[in-house]
Symmetry: C2
Subunit: 316 residues, 2 copies
Protein backbone atom coordinates (compact mmCIF):
# COMPACT_ATOMS: atom_id res chain seq x y z
CA UNK A 1 0.00 0.00 0.00
CA UNK A 2 1.47 3.33 -1.01
CA UNK A 3 0.67 6.15 1.39
CA UNK A 4 0.42 9.84 0.70
CA UNK A 5 2.88 12.04 2.52
CA UNK A 6 1.44 13.57 5.66
CA UNK A 7 0.77 17.25 5.09
CA UNK A 8 -0.94 19.26 7.79
CA UNK A 9 -2.22 16.12 9.49
CA UNK A 10 -4.71 15.43 6.68
CA UNK A 11 -3.79 12.20 5.03
CA UNK A 12 -5.41 10.02 2.49
CA UNK A 13 -4.20 6.51 3.13
CA UNK A 14 -6.66 4.71 0.84
CA UNK A 15 -6.45 6.75 -2.33
CA UNK A 16 -4.01 4.45 -4.12
CA UNK A 17 -6.22 1.46 -3.48
CA UNK A 18 -9.76 2.69 -3.73
CA UNK A 19 -9.36 6.02 -5.55
CA UNK A 20 -12.01 7.42 -3.18
CA UNK A 21 -11.02 10.68 -1.55
CA UNK A 22 -11.72 9.79 2.08
CA UNK A 23 -9.31 12.19 3.76
CA UNK A 24 -8.99 11.71 7.46
CA UNK A 25 -8.86 14.78 9.69
CA UNK A 26 -6.42 13.70 12.39
CA UNK A 27 -6.29 17.07 14.16
CA UNK A 28 -10.04 17.01 14.81
CA UNK A 29 -9.92 13.33 15.77
CA UNK A 30 -7.12 13.89 18.27
CA UNK A 31 -8.77 16.99 19.72
CA UNK A 32 -12.10 15.18 20.18
CA UNK A 33 -10.52 12.10 21.74
CA UNK A 34 -8.36 14.24 24.00
CA UNK A 35 -11.48 15.96 25.35
CA UNK A 36 -13.14 12.58 26.01
CA UNK A 37 -10.06 11.24 27.79
CA UNK A 38 -9.55 14.38 29.87
CA UNK A 39 -13.20 14.36 30.96
CA UNK A 40 -12.80 10.76 32.10
CA UNK A 41 -9.50 11.53 33.86
CA UNK A 42 -11.04 14.55 35.58
CA UNK A 43 -13.90 12.38 36.84
CA UNK A 44 -11.59 9.54 37.90
CA UNK A 45 -10.08 11.31 40.95
CA UNK A 46 -12.17 13.32 43.40
CA UNK A 47 -10.52 15.46 46.04
CA UNK A 48 -11.26 14.17 49.52
CA UNK A 49 -9.29 14.12 52.80
CA UNK A 50 -6.26 14.20 52.85
CA UNK A 51 -6.70 16.73 50.03
CA UNK A 52 -2.99 17.27 49.35
CA UNK A 53 -2.37 13.83 47.88
CA UNK A 54 -5.39 13.96 45.58
CA UNK A 55 -4.45 17.47 44.48
CA UNK A 56 -0.89 16.32 43.77
CA UNK A 57 -2.15 13.34 41.77
CA UNK A 58 -4.56 15.54 39.80
CA UNK A 59 -1.93 18.26 39.27
CA UNK A 60 0.22 15.99 37.13
CA UNK A 61 -2.55 13.80 35.70
CA UNK A 62 -4.44 16.82 34.37
CA UNK A 63 -1.38 18.81 33.25
CA UNK A 64 -2.14 18.32 29.57
CA UNK A 65 0.00 16.30 27.22
CA UNK A 66 -0.98 14.54 24.03
CA UNK A 67 -2.89 11.69 25.73
CA UNK A 68 -1.38 9.48 23.06
CA UNK A 69 -1.53 6.26 25.09
CA UNK A 70 -5.24 6.52 25.99
CA UNK A 71 -6.10 7.57 22.43
CA UNK A 72 -4.21 4.59 21.01
CA UNK A 73 -6.01 2.25 23.39
CA UNK A 74 -9.46 3.57 22.47
CA UNK A 75 -8.56 3.39 18.76
CA UNK A 76 -7.42 -0.25 18.79
CA UNK A 77 -10.41 -1.31 20.87
CA UNK A 78 -12.72 0.21 18.27
CA UNK A 79 -10.62 -1.17 15.41
CA UNK A 80 -11.03 -4.74 16.67
CA UNK A 81 -14.76 -4.53 17.36
CA UNK A 82 -15.01 -2.98 20.82
CA UNK A 83 -16.31 0.39 22.00
CA UNK A 84 -14.83 3.51 23.56
CA UNK A 85 -16.73 2.75 26.77
CA UNK A 86 -15.15 -0.67 27.12
CA UNK A 87 -11.65 0.78 26.84
CA UNK A 88 -11.98 4.07 28.76
CA UNK A 89 -10.98 2.76 32.22
CA UNK A 90 -7.87 1.15 30.73
CA UNK A 91 -7.18 4.32 28.72
CA UNK A 92 -7.28 6.35 31.95
CA UNK A 93 -5.09 3.79 33.73
CA UNK A 94 -2.48 4.09 30.98
CA UNK A 95 -2.32 7.84 31.53
CA UNK A 96 -2.12 7.36 35.32
CA UNK A 97 0.81 4.99 34.86
CA UNK A 98 2.51 7.30 32.36
CA UNK A 99 2.03 10.24 34.73
CA UNK A 100 3.47 8.24 37.64
CA UNK A 101 6.58 7.51 35.59
CA UNK A 102 7.00 11.21 34.75
CA UNK A 103 6.59 12.31 38.40
CA UNK A 104 9.16 9.80 39.62
CA UNK A 105 11.55 10.45 36.68
CA UNK A 106 11.54 14.16 37.48
CA UNK A 107 12.59 13.65 41.13
CA UNK A 108 15.95 15.07 42.28
CA UNK A 109 17.27 11.53 42.80
CA UNK A 110 16.44 10.73 39.16
CA UNK A 111 16.47 13.24 36.25
CA UNK A 112 16.08 16.23 38.61
CA UNK A 113 13.85 18.31 36.36
CA UNK A 114 12.04 21.48 37.43
CA UNK A 115 9.66 21.76 34.49
CA UNK A 116 7.36 19.35 32.68
CA UNK A 117 4.83 20.30 30.01
CA UNK A 118 5.63 23.96 30.72
CA UNK A 119 4.63 23.66 34.39
CA UNK A 120 6.63 23.13 37.57
CA UNK A 121 7.21 19.44 38.25
CA UNK A 122 5.23 17.72 40.98
CA UNK A 123 7.97 17.74 43.63
CA UNK A 124 8.68 21.45 43.00
CA UNK A 125 5.06 22.20 43.92
CA UNK A 126 4.25 19.56 46.58
CA UNK A 127 7.65 18.46 47.88
CA UNK A 128 9.59 15.26 47.24
CA UNK A 129 7.72 13.16 49.81
CA UNK A 130 4.30 13.94 48.36
CA UNK A 131 5.59 13.52 44.79
CA UNK A 132 6.84 10.01 45.57
CA UNK A 133 3.50 9.18 47.19
CA UNK A 134 1.49 10.78 44.37
CA UNK A 135 3.29 8.47 41.94
CA UNK A 136 2.59 5.45 44.15
CA UNK A 137 -1.04 6.54 44.47
CA UNK A 138 -1.48 6.89 40.70
CA UNK A 139 0.18 3.55 40.00
CA UNK A 140 -1.96 1.60 42.43
CA UNK A 141 -5.11 3.47 41.44
CA UNK A 142 -4.50 2.58 37.79
CA UNK A 143 -4.90 -1.13 38.58
CA UNK A 144 -7.84 -0.56 40.90
CA UNK A 145 -9.51 1.57 38.24
CA UNK A 146 -9.21 -1.03 35.49
CA UNK A 147 -10.36 -3.85 37.77
CA UNK A 148 -13.27 -1.98 39.34
CA UNK A 149 -14.50 0.28 36.50
CA UNK A 150 -14.28 -1.79 33.31
CA UNK A 151 -17.79 -2.67 32.13
CA UNK A 152 -19.13 -5.05 29.46
CA UNK A 153 -15.83 -6.89 29.10
CA UNK A 154 -15.23 -10.53 30.12
CA UNK A 155 -13.36 -10.71 33.45
CA UNK A 156 -10.61 -12.88 31.94
CA UNK A 157 -9.93 -10.16 29.34
CA UNK A 158 -9.70 -7.50 32.05
CA UNK A 159 -7.28 -9.73 33.99
CA UNK A 160 -5.10 -10.01 30.88
CA UNK A 161 -5.06 -6.21 30.70
CA UNK A 162 -4.01 -5.97 34.36
CA UNK A 163 -1.16 -8.42 33.74
CA UNK A 164 -0.05 -6.55 30.59
CA UNK A 165 -0.09 -3.17 32.33
CA UNK A 166 1.85 -4.55 35.30
CA UNK A 167 4.50 -6.02 33.05
CA UNK A 168 4.74 -2.86 30.93
CA UNK A 169 5.50 -0.62 33.90
CA UNK A 170 7.65 -2.99 36.00
CA UNK A 171 11.27 -4.14 35.84
CA UNK A 172 10.51 -6.02 32.61
CA UNK A 173 9.30 -2.74 31.07
CA UNK A 174 9.44 0.94 31.93
CA UNK A 175 11.33 0.57 35.24
CA UNK A 176 13.96 -1.67 33.63
CA UNK A 177 14.42 0.82 30.79
CA UNK A 178 14.85 3.67 33.25
CA UNK A 179 17.49 1.69 35.19
CA UNK A 180 19.59 1.15 32.06
CA UNK A 181 19.01 4.78 31.04
CA UNK A 182 20.31 6.04 34.39
CA UNK A 183 23.29 3.68 34.20
CA UNK A 184 24.13 4.94 30.69
CA UNK A 185 24.17 8.61 31.62
CA UNK A 186 27.52 10.28 31.09
CA UNK A 187 28.93 7.20 29.35
CA UNK A 188 30.25 8.32 25.98
CA UNK A 189 30.14 4.94 24.22
CA UNK A 190 26.59 3.61 24.57
CA UNK A 191 25.94 0.84 22.04
CA UNK A 192 22.97 0.84 19.69
CA UNK A 193 21.88 -2.37 21.46
CA UNK A 194 21.77 -0.64 24.84
CA UNK A 195 19.99 2.37 23.39
CA UNK A 196 17.40 0.05 21.84
CA UNK A 197 16.96 -1.74 25.18
CA UNK A 198 16.36 1.56 26.95
CA UNK A 199 13.71 2.76 24.54
CA UNK A 200 11.98 -0.57 23.89
CA UNK A 201 11.48 -0.74 27.66
CA UNK A 202 11.24 2.87 28.81
CA UNK A 203 8.86 4.13 26.12
CA UNK A 204 8.01 1.14 23.97
CA UNK A 205 6.55 -1.21 26.56
CA UNK A 206 3.78 1.11 27.71
CA UNK A 207 2.98 2.20 24.14
CA UNK A 208 2.71 -1.46 23.15
CA UNK A 209 0.47 -2.14 26.16
CA UNK A 210 -1.71 0.82 25.13
CA UNK A 211 -2.21 -0.59 21.66
CA UNK A 212 -2.53 -4.28 22.59
CA UNK A 213 -4.82 -3.76 25.61
CA UNK A 214 -7.40 -2.07 23.39
CA UNK A 215 -7.44 -5.27 21.34
CA UNK A 216 -7.55 -7.55 24.39
CA UNK A 217 -10.60 -5.70 25.74
CA UNK A 218 -12.36 -6.23 22.39
CA UNK A 219 -11.37 -9.94 22.46
CA UNK A 220 -9.32 -9.54 19.28
CA UNK A 221 -7.90 -12.72 17.70
CA UNK A 222 -4.31 -13.75 18.54
CA UNK A 223 -3.33 -12.88 14.96
CA UNK A 224 -4.75 -9.39 15.27
CA UNK A 225 -3.13 -8.90 18.68
CA UNK A 226 0.17 -9.89 17.04
CA UNK A 227 -0.40 -7.29 14.30
CA UNK A 228 -1.20 -4.63 16.90
CA UNK A 229 1.91 -5.57 18.85
CA UNK A 230 4.16 -5.18 15.77
CA UNK A 231 2.47 -1.91 14.88
CA UNK A 232 3.11 -0.65 18.41
CA UNK A 233 6.74 -1.74 18.57
CA UNK A 234 7.48 0.08 15.33
CA UNK A 235 5.75 3.32 16.26
CA UNK A 236 7.22 3.12 19.77
CA UNK A 237 10.78 3.13 18.54
CA UNK A 238 9.99 5.75 15.90
CA UNK A 239 8.43 7.91 18.60
CA UNK A 240 11.65 7.77 20.62
CA UNK A 241 13.89 8.53 17.65
CA UNK A 242 11.73 11.58 16.89
CA UNK A 243 11.94 12.58 20.58
CA UNK A 244 15.73 12.46 20.35
CA UNK A 245 15.65 14.51 17.14
CA UNK A 246 13.32 17.11 18.67
CA UNK A 247 15.59 17.47 21.70
CA UNK A 248 18.20 18.80 19.26
CA UNK A 249 16.08 20.69 16.75
CA UNK A 250 13.14 22.11 18.77
CA UNK A 251 13.09 24.98 21.26
CA UNK A 252 12.15 24.73 24.96
CA UNK A 253 8.98 26.65 24.11
CA UNK A 254 7.94 24.19 21.41
CA UNK A 255 8.68 21.18 23.63
CA UNK A 256 7.14 22.50 26.86
CA UNK A 257 10.20 21.02 28.56
CA UNK A 258 13.90 21.91 28.60
CA UNK A 259 15.39 21.48 25.10
CA UNK A 260 18.88 20.06 24.46
CA UNK A 261 18.59 18.34 27.83
CA UNK A 262 19.89 15.03 26.45
CA UNK A 263 23.05 16.68 25.12
CA UNK A 264 23.70 18.51 28.38
CA UNK A 265 23.16 15.31 30.38
CA UNK A 266 25.42 13.51 27.86
CA UNK A 267 22.61 11.05 27.21
CA UNK A 268 22.92 8.49 24.47
CA UNK A 269 20.58 9.32 21.59
CA UNK A 270 19.92 7.96 18.10
CA UNK A 271 21.11 11.17 16.38
CA UNK A 272 24.34 10.86 18.37
CA UNK A 273 24.89 7.36 16.97
CA UNK A 274 23.44 7.66 13.45
CA UNK A 275 23.36 11.42 12.80
CA UNK A 276 20.21 13.50 12.29
CA UNK A 277 19.44 12.54 8.70
CA UNK A 278 19.81 8.80 9.15
CA UNK A 279 17.72 9.01 12.32
CA UNK A 280 14.91 10.72 10.39
CA UNK A 281 15.14 8.07 7.68
CA UNK A 282 15.03 5.24 10.22
CA UNK A 283 11.99 6.73 11.97
CA UNK A 284 10.22 6.97 8.62
CA UNK A 285 11.04 3.35 7.80
CA UNK A 286 9.64 2.16 11.13
CA UNK A 287 6.45 4.10 10.51
CA UNK A 288 6.04 2.46 7.08
CA UNK A 289 6.48 -0.97 8.69
CA UNK A 290 3.94 -0.06 11.35
CA UNK A 291 1.36 1.00 8.82
CA UNK A 292 1.87 -2.14 6.73
CA UNK A 293 0.74 -4.23 9.73
CA UNK A 294 -2.68 -2.56 9.64
CA UNK A 295 -3.41 -2.90 5.90
CA UNK A 296 -5.68 -5.85 6.59
CA UNK A 297 -8.09 -3.65 8.53
CA UNK A 298 -8.75 -1.36 5.55
CA UNK A 299 -10.20 2.10 6.09
CA UNK A 300 -11.11 1.31 9.72
CA UNK A 301 -7.41 1.65 10.53
CA UNK A 302 -7.25 5.24 9.29
CA UNK A 303 -7.01 6.84 12.75
CA UNK A 304 -4.05 4.60 13.64
CA UNK A 305 -2.39 5.10 10.23
CA UNK A 306 -2.75 8.84 10.64
CA UNK A 307 -1.42 8.64 14.20
CA UNK A 308 1.63 6.76 12.98
CA UNK A 309 2.36 9.48 10.44
CA UNK A 310 1.76 12.14 13.06
CA UNK A 311 4.56 10.70 15.19
CA UNK A 312 7.20 11.52 12.61
CA UNK A 313 5.74 14.88 11.64
CA UNK A 314 5.10 16.24 15.15
CA UNK A 315 7.04 19.22 16.52
CA UNK A 316 6.62 18.49 20.24
CA UNK B 1 -16.37 -17.48 74.19
CA UNK B 2 -13.74 -17.20 76.92
CA UNK B 3 -10.20 -17.60 75.70
CA UNK B 4 -7.18 -18.82 77.59
CA UNK B 5 -4.38 -16.31 78.03
CA UNK B 6 -1.65 -16.68 75.45
CA UNK B 7 1.42 -18.21 77.07
CA UNK B 8 4.40 -19.10 74.92
CA UNK B 9 2.29 -18.96 71.76
CA UNK B 10 0.44 -22.15 72.70
CA UNK B 11 -3.17 -21.30 73.18
CA UNK B 12 -6.27 -23.29 73.67
CA UNK B 13 -9.13 -21.25 72.32
CA UNK B 14 -11.80 -23.93 72.45
CA UNK B 15 -11.31 -25.37 75.90
CA UNK B 16 -14.09 -23.41 77.58
CA UNK B 17 -16.60 -24.55 74.99
CA UNK B 18 -15.67 -28.09 74.14
CA UNK B 19 -13.42 -29.05 77.04
CA UNK B 20 -11.20 -30.88 74.51
CA UNK B 21 -7.53 -30.04 74.82
CA UNK B 22 -6.78 -29.07 71.23
CA UNK B 23 -3.84 -26.78 71.82
CA UNK B 24 -2.61 -24.97 68.76
CA UNK B 25 1.11 -24.56 68.20
CA UNK B 26 1.34 -21.11 66.65
CA UNK B 27 5.15 -20.95 66.61
CA UNK B 28 5.36 -24.06 64.42
CA UNK B 29 2.46 -22.89 62.26
CA UNK B 30 4.06 -19.49 61.67
CA UNK B 31 7.48 -21.00 60.99
CA UNK B 32 6.06 -23.47 58.45
CA UNK B 33 3.95 -20.86 56.68
CA UNK B 34 6.88 -18.44 56.61
CA UNK B 35 9.01 -21.05 54.85
CA UNK B 36 6.25 -21.63 52.26
CA UNK B 37 5.83 -17.91 51.64
CA UNK B 38 9.56 -17.24 51.40
CA UNK B 39 10.01 -20.09 48.93
CA UNK B 40 7.27 -18.60 46.76
CA UNK B 41 8.72 -15.09 47.08
CA UNK B 42 12.19 -16.37 46.18
CA UNK B 43 10.78 -18.04 43.07
CA UNK B 44 8.70 -15.01 42.11
CA UNK B 45 11.60 -12.80 40.98
CA UNK B 46 14.48 -14.09 38.86
CA UNK B 47 17.55 -11.98 38.30
CA UNK B 48 17.91 -11.04 34.64
CA UNK B 49 19.26 -7.98 32.81
CA UNK B 50 19.38 -5.26 34.12
CA UNK B 51 20.44 -7.22 37.21
CA UNK B 52 20.64 -4.26 39.58
CA UNK B 53 16.90 -3.62 39.71
CA UNK B 54 16.01 -7.27 40.30
CA UNK B 55 18.70 -7.51 42.98
CA UNK B 56 17.36 -4.37 44.67
CA UNK B 57 13.79 -5.72 44.57
CA UNK B 58 14.92 -9.08 45.98
CA UNK B 59 17.15 -7.44 48.61
CA UNK B 60 14.17 -5.91 50.39
CA UNK B 61 11.58 -8.54 49.49
CA UNK B 62 13.71 -11.35 50.95
CA UNK B 63 15.01 -9.40 53.96
CA UNK B 64 12.97 -11.43 56.42
CA UNK B 65 10.13 -10.00 58.43
CA UNK B 66 7.17 -11.81 59.92
CA UNK B 67 5.33 -12.36 56.59
CA UNK B 68 2.19 -11.61 58.55
CA UNK B 69 0.18 -10.36 55.58
CA UNK B 70 0.80 -13.39 53.34
CA UNK B 71 0.19 -15.76 56.26
CA UNK B 72 -3.12 -14.03 57.06
CA UNK B 73 -4.19 -14.28 53.42
CA UNK B 74 -3.39 -17.99 53.19
CA UNK B 75 -5.18 -18.60 56.51
CA UNK B 76 -8.44 -16.87 55.57
CA UNK B 77 -8.49 -18.55 52.15
CA UNK B 78 -8.25 -21.94 53.87
CA UNK B 79 -10.74 -20.91 56.55
CA UNK B 80 -13.39 -20.11 53.96
CA UNK B 81 -12.91 -23.23 51.86
CA UNK B 82 -10.00 -22.40 49.54
CA UNK B 83 -6.47 -23.74 49.34
CA UNK B 84 -2.98 -22.39 49.95
CA UNK B 85 -2.26 -22.72 46.22
CA UNK B 86 -5.20 -20.49 45.30
CA UNK B 87 -4.00 -17.72 47.61
CA UNK B 88 -0.21 -17.90 47.21
CA UNK B 89 0.13 -15.40 44.32
CA UNK B 90 -1.98 -12.87 46.25
CA UNK B 91 0.01 -13.64 49.42
CA UNK B 92 3.24 -12.85 47.54
CA UNK B 93 1.70 -9.70 46.06
CA UNK B 94 0.78 -8.48 49.56
CA UNK B 95 4.40 -8.85 50.64
CA UNK B 96 5.62 -7.09 47.46
CA UNK B 97 3.28 -4.17 48.18
CA UNK B 98 4.27 -4.06 51.86
CA UNK B 99 7.96 -4.12 50.87
CA UNK B 100 7.42 -1.30 48.36
CA UNK B 101 5.86 0.83 51.09
CA UNK B 102 8.83 0.18 53.40
CA UNK B 103 11.40 1.02 50.69
CA UNK B 104 9.67 4.30 49.83
CA UNK B 105 8.98 5.17 53.51
CA UNK B 106 12.68 4.78 54.33
CA UNK B 107 13.81 7.25 51.61
CA UNK B 108 15.60 10.44 52.70
CA UNK B 109 12.62 12.52 51.48
CA UNK B 110 10.31 10.48 53.75
CA UNK B 111 11.32 8.90 57.10
CA UNK B 112 15.03 8.90 56.19
CA UNK B 113 15.92 5.62 57.87
CA UNK B 114 19.25 3.80 57.44
CA UNK B 115 18.23 0.45 58.91
CA UNK B 116 15.27 -1.86 58.43
CA UNK B 117 14.96 -5.36 59.86
CA UNK B 118 18.58 -5.06 61.05
CA UNK B 119 19.87 -4.45 57.51
CA UNK B 120 20.79 -1.31 55.63
CA UNK B 121 17.76 0.18 53.88
CA UNK B 122 17.39 -0.21 50.13
CA UNK B 123 18.57 3.28 49.19
CA UNK B 124 21.64 2.97 51.45
CA UNK B 125 22.71 -0.07 49.40
CA UNK B 126 21.50 0.74 45.88
CA UNK B 127 21.06 4.52 45.88
CA UNK B 128 17.93 6.61 45.98
CA UNK B 129 17.14 6.35 42.29
CA UNK B 130 17.20 2.55 42.27
CA UNK B 131 15.28 2.40 45.56
CA UNK B 132 12.46 4.49 44.09
CA UNK B 133 12.41 2.27 41.00
CA UNK B 134 12.63 -0.96 43.04
CA UNK B 135 9.49 0.16 44.88
CA UNK B 136 7.74 0.97 41.60
CA UNK B 137 8.85 -2.38 40.20
CA UNK B 138 7.53 -4.32 43.19
CA UNK B 139 4.23 -2.46 43.18
CA UNK B 140 3.51 -3.07 39.51
CA UNK B 141 4.78 -6.66 39.68
CA UNK B 142 2.38 -7.35 42.56
CA UNK B 143 -0.61 -6.71 40.29
CA UNK B 144 0.91 -8.54 37.34
CA UNK B 145 1.67 -11.51 39.60
CA UNK B 146 -1.88 -11.80 40.95
CA UNK B 147 -3.42 -11.41 37.50
CA UNK B 148 -1.06 -13.78 35.70
CA UNK B 149 -0.26 -16.42 38.34
CA UNK B 150 -3.51 -17.08 40.21
CA UNK B 151 -4.82 -20.55 39.29
CA UNK B 152 -8.13 -22.35 39.95
CA UNK B 153 -9.94 -19.15 40.95
CA UNK B 154 -12.76 -17.54 38.97
CA UNK B 155 -11.47 -14.51 37.02
CA UNK B 156 -14.10 -12.22 38.59
CA UNK B 157 -12.78 -13.13 42.05
CA UNK B 158 -9.20 -12.37 40.99
CA UNK B 159 -10.36 -9.02 39.60
CA UNK B 160 -11.96 -8.20 42.95
CA UNK B 161 -8.63 -8.97 44.61
CA UNK B 162 -6.81 -6.63 42.19
CA UNK B 163 -9.28 -3.84 42.97
CA UNK B 164 -8.97 -4.43 46.75
CA UNK B 165 -5.17 -4.43 46.63
CA UNK B 166 -5.12 -1.27 44.54
CA UNK B 167 -7.43 0.53 46.93
CA UNK B 168 -5.51 -0.68 50.00
CA UNK B 169 -2.20 0.73 48.80
CA UNK B 170 -3.42 3.94 47.10
CA UNK B 171 -4.51 7.35 48.35
CA UNK B 172 -7.62 5.77 49.92
CA UNK B 173 -5.33 3.45 51.91
CA UNK B 174 -1.65 3.22 52.72
CA UNK B 175 -0.54 6.27 50.71
CA UNK B 176 -3.27 8.45 52.29
CA UNK B 177 -2.25 7.28 55.76
CA UNK B 178 1.38 8.08 55.08
CA UNK B 179 0.45 11.58 53.87
CA UNK B 180 -1.40 12.37 57.12
CA UNK B 181 1.42 10.75 59.12
CA UNK B 182 4.01 13.00 57.45
CA UNK B 183 1.81 16.07 57.98
CA UNK B 184 1.41 15.21 61.68
CA UNK B 185 5.12 14.90 62.37
CA UNK B 186 6.40 17.42 64.92
CA UNK B 187 2.86 18.57 65.73
CA UNK B 188 2.39 18.24 69.49
CA UNK B 189 -1.42 18.08 69.51
CA UNK B 190 -2.45 15.27 67.17
CA UNK B 191 -6.04 14.22 67.85
CA UNK B 192 -7.07 10.63 68.46
CA UNK B 193 -9.19 10.95 65.32
CA UNK B 194 -6.16 11.85 63.21
CA UNK B 195 -4.07 9.10 64.76
CA UNK B 196 -6.85 6.60 64.00
CA UNK B 197 -7.00 7.85 60.41
CA UNK B 198 -3.26 7.38 60.01
CA UNK B 199 -3.22 3.82 61.25
CA UNK B 200 -6.50 2.64 59.74
CA UNK B 201 -5.02 3.70 56.41
CA UNK B 202 -1.26 3.25 56.77
CA UNK B 203 -1.30 -0.19 58.43
CA UNK B 204 -4.94 -1.24 58.62
CA UNK B 205 -5.92 -1.07 54.97
CA UNK B 206 -3.33 -3.57 53.74
CA UNK B 207 -3.91 -5.90 56.70
CA UNK B 208 -7.62 -5.83 55.95
CA UNK B 209 -6.93 -6.55 52.28
CA UNK B 210 -4.71 -9.47 53.33
CA UNK B 211 -7.49 -11.00 55.36
CA UNK B 212 -10.39 -10.22 53.03
CA UNK B 213 -8.62 -11.20 49.79
CA UNK B 214 -8.09 -14.73 51.12
CA UNK B 215 -11.86 -14.96 51.51
CA UNK B 216 -12.57 -13.43 48.11
CA UNK B 217 -10.32 -16.00 46.42
CA UNK B 218 -12.26 -18.79 48.15
CA UNK B 219 -15.56 -17.17 47.08
CA UNK B 220 -16.59 -16.62 50.69
CA UNK B 221 -20.15 -15.36 51.33
CA UNK B 222 -20.72 -11.60 51.81
CA UNK B 223 -21.49 -12.30 55.49
CA UNK B 224 -18.21 -14.11 55.99
CA UNK B 225 -16.28 -11.42 54.11
CA UNK B 226 -17.87 -8.90 56.49
CA UNK B 227 -16.72 -10.98 59.48
CA UNK B 228 -13.20 -11.19 58.08
CA UNK B 229 -13.20 -7.44 57.49
CA UNK B 230 -14.19 -6.70 61.10
CA UNK B 231 -11.63 -9.19 62.38
CA UNK B 232 -8.95 -7.48 60.28
CA UNK B 233 -9.88 -3.94 61.31
CA UNK B 234 -9.64 -4.88 64.98
CA UNK B 235 -6.32 -6.69 64.73
CA UNK B 236 -4.98 -3.95 62.44
CA UNK B 237 -5.50 -1.21 65.00
CA UNK B 238 -4.28 -3.48 67.82
CA UNK B 239 -1.17 -4.22 65.78
CA UNK B 240 -0.40 -0.51 65.49
CA UNK B 241 -1.02 0.20 69.16
CA UNK B 242 1.40 -2.62 70.03
CA UNK B 243 3.89 -1.17 67.53
CA UNK B 244 3.69 2.17 69.30
CA UNK B 245 4.15 0.46 72.69
CA UNK B 246 7.15 -1.52 71.44
CA UNK B 247 8.79 1.64 70.10
CA UNK B 248 8.93 2.80 73.74
CA UNK B 249 9.55 -0.45 75.60
CA UNK B 250 11.69 -2.56 73.21
CA UNK B 251 15.37 -2.18 72.29
CA UNK B 252 16.73 -1.53 68.80
CA UNK B 253 18.12 -5.07 68.86
CA UNK B 254 14.72 -6.59 69.63
CA UNK B 255 12.97 -4.50 66.98
CA UNK B 256 15.57 -4.86 64.22
CA UNK B 257 14.96 -1.16 63.59
CA UNK B 258 15.77 2.02 65.50
CA UNK B 259 13.88 2.07 68.82
CA UNK B 260 12.33 5.23 70.30
CA UNK B 261 12.24 6.61 66.78
CA UNK B 262 8.65 7.85 67.17
CA UNK B 263 9.56 9.86 70.25
CA UNK B 264 12.63 11.38 68.61
CA UNK B 265 10.60 12.28 65.52
CA UNK B 266 7.89 13.65 67.84
CA UNK B 267 5.39 11.34 66.19
CA UNK B 268 1.90 11.03 67.56
CA UNK B 269 1.39 7.62 69.19
CA UNK B 270 -1.33 5.91 71.21
CA UNK B 271 0.81 5.70 74.38
CA UNK B 272 1.40 9.46 74.05
CA UNK B 273 -2.37 10.06 74.05
CA UNK B 274 -3.62 7.32 76.38
CA UNK B 275 -0.52 6.29 78.36
CA UNK B 276 1.12 2.85 78.19
CA UNK B 277 -1.28 0.93 80.41
CA UNK B 278 -4.47 2.15 78.75
CA UNK B 279 -2.89 1.46 75.35
CA UNK B 280 -2.20 -2.14 76.35
CA UNK B 281 -5.77 -2.49 77.59
CA UNK B 282 -7.21 -1.05 74.39
CA UNK B 283 -5.12 -3.38 72.24
CA UNK B 284 -6.35 -6.36 74.28
CA UNK B 285 -9.98 -5.23 73.89
CA UNK B 286 -9.60 -4.96 70.12
CA UNK B 287 -8.12 -8.45 69.98
CA UNK B 288 -11.08 -9.85 71.94
CA UNK B 289 -13.46 -8.17 69.50
CA UNK B 290 -11.51 -9.59 66.60
CA UNK B 291 -11.65 -13.12 67.94
CA UNK B 292 -15.38 -12.87 68.63
CA UNK B 293 -15.96 -12.31 64.89
CA UNK B 294 -14.51 -15.75 64.12
CA UNK B 295 -16.43 -17.81 66.71
CA UNK B 296 -18.80 -19.00 64.01
CA UNK B 297 -15.97 -20.85 62.24
CA UNK B 298 -15.21 -23.04 65.29
CA UNK B 299 -11.84 -24.76 65.56
CA UNK B 300 -10.99 -24.04 61.91
CA UNK B 301 -10.33 -20.46 63.00
CA UNK B 302 -7.64 -21.46 65.46
CA UNK B 303 -4.68 -20.21 63.42
CA UNK B 304 -6.31 -16.78 63.10
CA UNK B 305 -7.35 -16.70 66.78
CA UNK B 306 -3.79 -17.57 67.76
CA UNK B 307 -2.41 -14.94 65.36
CA UNK B 308 -4.65 -12.32 66.94
CA UNK B 309 -3.29 -13.18 70.38
CA UNK B 310 0.25 -13.19 69.03
CA UNK B 311 -0.14 -9.55 67.94
CA UNK B 312 -0.50 -8.33 71.53
CA UNK B 313 2.10 -10.69 72.99
CA UNK B 314 4.86 -10.14 70.39
CA UNK B 315 8.10 -8.42 71.27
CA UNK B 316 9.05 -7.18 67.77
Amino acid sequence: MVLMPNTGHKINPMVSKSQIDTTFDLSTYLAERKVLVEKALDKSIRIIYPEKIYEAMRYSLLAGGKRLRPILCLATCELTGGTIEMAMPTACALEMIHTMSLIHDDLPAMDNDDYRRGKLTNHKVYGEDIAILAGDGLLSYAFEFVAAQTKNVLPQQVLQVVARLGKAVGAAGLVGGQVVDLASEGISEVSEETLNFIHIHKTGALLEASVVCGGILATASPTNLERLSHFAKNIGLAFQIVDDILDITATTEELGKTARKDIEAQKATYPAIWGLEASRHQAQKLIENAKAELEVFGHKAMPLIALADYITSRSN
